[in-house]
Amino acid sequence: MSELTLDTPLPAIRVQRTANKVRLGPVLAVTFLFLLIIAAIAPQLFAHSDPLGIVPRDAFHPPSWEHWFGTDQSGRDIFSRVIYGTRQSLFIGLAATAIAMSIAIVLGLLGGLGGVRIDRGVGWLLEVLFAFPSLILALLFVAIFGSGIGPLIVATGLGGAPGYARMVRGQVLAVRNAGYIESAKALGHPPLRIITRQLLPNAMRPLIVTLTMGVGQAIVWASALSFLGLGARPPAPEWGTMLSMGRDFIANAWWLTFFPGLFIVLTTLSTTVAGRYLQQRLEGRLS
């Protein structure tokens, strides 16, 4: 009983302390991400002109009140294009992270639970995958399956998978011998149930933060591939593709590359800041 009275006031104090301290960085980051999601669902709320509409006499207008981010070589409004590109970029980031994580979970579970031999095999496979720098892995993949959004997503996911797999494996090893797993075993739960109900949720919890930041990284990698001409085809409003198109005009029209890139940076920055804030909150609650 005495333990309870000693323990109970503590969380309350902690919550109050963190609640009082509202920091600017995380608030801005979450707001930006929120706006991005809205832009992805309903881009017409922000942008009023057609992202693909060609107006030749409006070509290469610098940023102005009418065209916030200027216009490109065909007179398309860059602000609209960036806004309409949000959906695709976010989707690519999320889907690629999901693929990376699925591969990582399979490999991590195999390595963490399969015994010494399989673990060694998985470790070796990861070493091989690591020896391919992610962009090269992605290049090879795109070379085999052709360019386009689908291969781009899978290629980005494949590039990220080895890193996550290493983390999942470590987490599975750490959680494997925990007391609650032992008691689940003692209760006679089937192994699959233990894996899905106890092992995975507990092993994955610390990875939530990594995943948040991973979406930002995936967007960067996917736009690097699009930038090389391996992703969405040119007129499409995709951030990496826009950068790639604007590259030919950097000497006299900086806004063609600046604004799509700025959105990539702001997105990664926001996922990093939000992820780190989440990490601090989670750690604070766990300790």
């Binding site: 070796w124 070493e127 091989v128 690591f130 020896a131 391919f132 720098p133 992610s134 962009l135 090269i136 290049l139 090879l140 993949f141 795109v142 070379a143 085999i144 052709g146 930002g216 960067v220 736009s223 690097a224 930038f227 090389l228 950068l243 604007g246 590259r247 950097i250 000497a251 900086w254 590359t257 600046f258 890139g261 990539i264 940076v265 990664t268 920055l269 990093t272 800041v273």
Partner: protein, 330 residues
């Protein structure tokens, strides 16, 4: 008895340590060779799955328009008429002898292309890694554990630079310093002036990543008792930071450098394309697009070998900086 045998077992701790490092290096090298074999195999079969006939790729792609005889001749010449396992065995056999074949698109031995293109990329990656570490050390050692706003400002700069994609940074640097101020040439790979902008484009994001980790561990290290001891011995603040705290604080950064080399090579592909630099990255990009099988495998092998070697070095460096790790090393 135990004390006697212990002292005879360790006649020279330094030599012992070197031997241990050497054994570890050999072990890692053996693993590395296996990894290279796997890379060669994966690349070989992956490129064989590619749509399109390799013979047509050899004869100049879709615009080549070869006759039936030249196709038959090239098929024989490159051994493409044999079954796939035979081709693979022949390929591995030649690989062991150091023969990487002839590039389809450049019509010269792959080894020669590699010899020509490796140095510019090596130069670029090493300059970037060194530059990144200079930035990290300058930023973290001077600002860690200082007044609050200094740390906040510095970590803001780190977070921001870690979020910068190198291709965008490359374009911005190109627009400002090459086309705007005309300080550096916008393209090319001769002389140190062409190296400046690409190196910064690769080093700044990397420095951001390493600095975040290093700052965190430096902040922790500066609170350690041995730092206080060093200070009470009258050492200057600068000396305490560089000679005592740093050695402890760089460890996470060093282990991140192994990963960083992979990231740098990935980045080099894009950066070499942007700055029209000679190098493996741009070459690989072109080789993949031209379906140039031997060249693609050759570059993948060199890159993988470089990555494996770099990681062995990082591993050894880690053990050398932190002898405490030796117990769990083997």
């Amino acid at each position: 008895m135990t004390s006697a045998s212990l002292s005879s077992e360790r006649p020279n701790p330094r030599r012992e340590r070197l031997q241990q490092l050497g054994r570890r290096a050999l072990w890692r090298l053996a693993g590395g060779i296996l990894v290279l074999w796997a890379v060669a195999t994966l690349t070989f079969f992956a490129l064989r799955l590619m749509p399109g006939d390799p013979v047509l790729a050899i004869l100049g792609g879709p615009s080549g328009n070869p006759t039936a005889e030249t196709i038959a001749e090239a098929t024989r010449e490159y051994g493409l008429d044999k079954p796939l396992p035979v081709q693979y065995a022949l390929y591995l056999g030649r690989l062991v002898q150091g023969d990487l074949g002839v590039s389809y698109s450049q019509h010269q031995p792959v080894t020669r292309v590699l010899a020509e293109q490796s140095w510019p990329t090596l130069e670029l990656t090493f300059t970037s890694l060194a530059l990144a570490w200079v930035l990290v050390l300058a930023l973290t050692v001077l600002t860690a554990g200082r007044r609050r706003w200094v740390g906040t400002l510095a970590s803001l700069a780190e977070t921001l630079s870690a979020a910068l994609p190198h291709f965008w940074l490359g374009i911005l640097l190109l627009a400002v310093f090459a086309f705007g101020l005309r300080l550096f040439p916008p393209a090319g790979s001769d002389g140190w002036r062409t190296l400046v902008l690409p190196s910064f484009a690769l080093a700044i994001p990397l420095a951001g990543f390493i600095a975040q980790v290093t700052r965190e561990s430096l902040d922790l290290t500066l609170d350690q008792p041995f730092v206080l001891t060093a200070r009470t011995r009258g050492l200057s603040d600068f000396k305490v930071r560089f000679k005592h705290a740093l050695r402890h604080a760089v460890l996470p950064g060093i282990s991140l450098s192994g990963w960083a080399i992979g990231a740098l090579i990935s980045g080099a592909v894009v950066i070499e394309v942007i700055f029209s630099r000679k190098g493996l990255g741009r070459q690989l990009f072109q080789a993949v697009q031209a379906q140039d099988l031997p060249l693609t495998i050759g570059i993948s092998l060199v890159v993988a070998a470089g990555y494996v070697l770099a990681n062995i070095l990082v591993d050894l460096l880690y053990l050398w900086v932190d002898p405490r790790q030796q117990g769990n090393a083997s």
